[in-house]
């Protein structure tokens, strides 16, 4: 303990005159004057040279964002500038988004990365401004003449580093776009930003390697067909061990009625595998004539996060395989960005799929007219219809050990407008469901903080920041309703929300919707169920049945 305290006058002098940690950083500086600083946890590993070669992108080399010298090619500025021109000519949306923003600020506090860090460059308007400033300098008369006065600046290495940092601190979730009076889609600007970064040879491995793997084996992890089959079969064995019911998934079976495609995270990752088990139990329960494909073994599409050509190529396998196998239509599993690609791009990129039929549920006869053009139905719609038509035997009490809340995945809620179907299913398979507060769900949902190919472990700090607004809404329902289960219908959510919950809200586990369906299904010939699919104890079902508590 100090025995000689300083005098007040001395302290005051010290506080006023000495530089101090207590006085903040760069006070009053404009955002343009603050350089980016790469430090552990705020950057993703650069793409490996062999991956870049496989994808045919520029300048394969070993480098790290932390390096002083990024070993850029001679003339990289020209490549980026030409790339920008090409895209401005090709995509009217991009041109419009570069010109139309009036900087009203409606989006400023809507980004989860901004809310989790306070960094002004994470305001969507400023993030776009990083690119607009270069656009003005290169492509507008006012920018060429008045330069900095109109917020124009040349493309320098510093600017490129800024792009690299901030276009990888956007998950393309589009929450900001909901509030933009002009409907500017920040995700599209980020997509263009990442394409231009590709031209400069500055890509990240977590996006590039899965895309390259997909080209080679059909899935992000690079798993070969026999292993894929083997793992799915072992999940079928797990179902048999736990429920006594045999399920028989088939692979690459020609003539099946339906091709089922789901993200590979459901097949290989924990807790995605339990959702996969749920699907297989459901299909067995209703006797669906379906097949899996070891070629279209990935619903996800990391091409979306790097370039539109890459996205198109990876997506093409869905229709190719459906045509080869001669199925009638495609059923898609719980995934986020897969549905963004399917819903918004697939039809014009790789369609029309005139060799398929308009999807009709073979169990209920329901026509999915919303999928008339893509011929691909979302599993939540499919299951909601089955429940609505009374085709499933469910005992929601089997999920009584779970007090659930529902996280709307950005791409499903905002990307395709599906909000009610998963909730309808959830309400029918469990008795305790409580919504998170308004403005944090449905079309205003907060992102998990790890979407768009950023769910890599070296990026954990940024991900925890980006996921903070979502975690704060979960904290609220955890404290208010004792929620212990966060249900999501996206494979990236299922991979990235567990660490997010572990960090911010320990005690909340993450579940897939169809995992809960699998828990609740009363299957023919089943053994007595005392454990859920992840072998956690269910509540004693013989005790007095609990009533349903819905929070509408």
């Amino acid at each position: 303990m100090t025995t000689n305290p300083p005098k007040l006058a001395e302290l005051q002098l010290e506080y006023e005159q000495e530089p101090s940690l207590l006085k903040g950083d760069s006070p009053g500086k404009e955002w343009l004057d603050i350089p980016v600083e790469f430090r552990d946890g705020n950057w993703c590993h650069a793409a490996k040279p062999n991956v870049i070669e496989d994808l045919g992108f520029n300048n394969p080399r070993k480098w790290s964002p932390e390096d002083e010298d990024w070993q850029l090619e001679e003339g990289w500025q020209k490549k980026v500038k030409n790339g920008m021109k090409e895209r401005l000519d090709k995509f009217r949306s991009f041109k419009l988004f570069m010109d139309i923003c009036v900087r009203c600020g409606a989006c400023a506090d809507k980004c989860h990365f901004f809310l989790g860090s306070g960094d002004p460059k994470n305001m969507p308007v400023v993030r776009q401004e990083l690119m607009r400033s270069v656009y003005r300098h290169e492509f507008t008369w006012s920018g060429k003449i008045f330069k900095g006065l109109v917020g124009a600046r040349p493309l320098s290495e510093e600017v490129l580093k800024e792009w690299f940092m901030y276009f990888h601190q956007c998950t393309e979730c589009r929450r900001c776009s909901v509030y933009c009076p002009f409907g500017i889609d920040t995700a599209e600007v980020t997509l263009m930003g990442r394409e231009l970064l590709n031209l400069a040879g500055t890509n990240i491995n977590w996006i590039s390697e899965p895309a390259s793997n997909c080209n080679r084996t059909g899935n992000h992890l690079g798993i070969e067909p026999h292993t894929y089959k083997n793992v799915v079969e072992s999940l079928a064995e797990d179902i048999e061990d736990q429920t006594g019911v045999t399920v028989n998934p088939s692979f690459n079976r020609k003539g099946a009625e339906i091709l089922f495609i789901t993200p590979s995270g459901d097949v290989f990752g924990d807790p995605g595998i339990y959702t996969m088990m749920g699907y297989m139990m459901l299909f067995e329960h209703i006797g669906l004539d379906y097949t899996l494909s070891t070629y279209a073994s990935e619903g996800g599409n990391f091409g979306l996060f790097s370039s539109n050509q890459s996205m198109k190529k990876i997506n093409a396998k869905m229709f190719h395989e459906a045509e080869r196998l001669g199925v009638k239509w495609i059923l898609g599993g719980e995934c986020g960005h897969m549905w963004r690609v399917v819903h918004q791009y697939m039809d014009t990129m790789n369609g029309p799929a005139d060799f398929l039929e308009e999807p009709v549920s073979p169990i209920t006869g329901t026509k999915f007219r919303n999928a008339t053009s893509t011929k691909m139905v979302h599993i939540a719609e499919f299951t909601a219809d089955l429940i609505h038509q009374g085709k499933l035997k469910l005992d929601p009490r089997r999920n009584d050990h779970l007090k659930t809340t529902f996280h709307d995945s950005c791409n499903i809620a905002r990307g395709m407008g599906m909000m009610e179907e998963p909730r309808y299913v959830l309400r029918n398979v469990c008795n305790n469901f409580n919504e998170m507060p308004d403005h944090t769900i449905r079309e205003e949902t907060f992102c998990c903080g790890s979407g768009s190919g950023l769910n890599t472990d070296e990026y954990m700090d940024v991900r925890m920041r980006g996921g903070f607004p979502r975690a704060s809404a979960v904290k609220h329902v955890k404290e208010k309703y004792d929620v212990n289960a966060l249900v999501a219908i996206c494979a990236i959510d299922r991979a990235s929300l567990p660490p997010l919950m572990n960090y911010w809200n320990p005690g909340v586990s993450v579940y897939g919707l169809h995992e809960l369906v699998g828990n609740a299904l009363v299957m023919e010939g089943e053994d007595e169920r005392t454990e859920d699919l992840r072998e956690d104890e269910m509540e004693d079902l013989d005790s007095e049945s609990t009533s349903r508590e819905y929070d509408e």
């Binding site: 303990m1 100090t2 305290p5 007040l8 302290l11 005051q12 940690l21 207590l22 903040g24 950083d25 006070p27 009053g28 500086k29 955002w31 603050i34 946890g41 705020n42 400023a108 506090d109 901004f114 809310l115 989790g116 860090s117 306070g118 960094d119 002004p120 305001m123 992890l221 798993i223 292993t227 083997n230 793992v231 072992s234 999940l235 097949v267 290989f268 990752g269 924990d270 807790p271 595998i273 507060p437 403005h439 944090t440 472990d457 070296e458 954990m460 700090d461 925890m464 920041r465 903070f468 607004p469 704060s472 809404a473 609220h476 991979a495 567990p498 660490p499 572990n502 960090y503 911010w504």
Partner: protein, 163 residues
């Protein structure tokens, strides 16, 4: 008799909280004015809300400590541990209280003796060290999450390989 400075904190809690919060929020933004400072909605600005809650609990329980005090340190350090500023700056938050209280003594003309000041300083130091434990625990958690995640991604492959 209670420490004069602790009494001062209790009496001026709201003003001290306001000053402490705005000082800390200025670290989050590299600009003078930021929505992080002005947006008060609990869910639309969780940093402000959770820091405010935590700092309030610290001030309320500054003398008696206890579970609530510990939880508040946890809540604050959880936010600080993943920010882009270094540990020294994160921990500076707790020393800020010293400066704020000193200013208040000047403003309100409250007299205090050397013993009060020594005790108060010591309490701040202890709090900072406790907070540093929380901060480090959260940093360690981040590294643990990285390891867990790598394993979980290929869970079935590792399981099949018997690893």
């Amino acid at each position: 008799m209670s420490n004069t400075l602790n009494i001062l904190i209790t009496k001026n809690q709201d003003q001290i909280l306001e000053k402490w919060l705005s000082l800390r929020l200025s670290f989050f933004s590299k600009q003078k004015q930021s929505l992080i400072m002005t947006q008060k909605d609990q869910f639309q600005n969780p940093i402000r809300h959770q820091l405010q809650e935590g700092l309030k609990d610290i001030l309320e329980n500054f003398e008696k400590k206890g579970e609530k005090f510990k939880e508040a340190l946890e809540q604050i350090c959880r936010i600080l541990a993943i920010q882009d500023f270094p540990p020294s700056k994160a921990m500076a938050l707790f020393y800020e209280l010293k400066e704020i209280v000193r200013e208040f003594t000047k403003k309100t003309g409250v007299g205090f003796n050397a013993k009060d000041w020594v005790e108060f300083n010591s309490a701040i130091e202890t709090m900072t060290l406790e907070a540093f434990d929380c901060y480090s625990a959260h940093r360690e958690k981040i590294y643990q999450l990285k390891v867990d995640e790598s394993k979980n991604k290929a869970f079935m492959l590792l399981k099949k390989a018997g690893i």
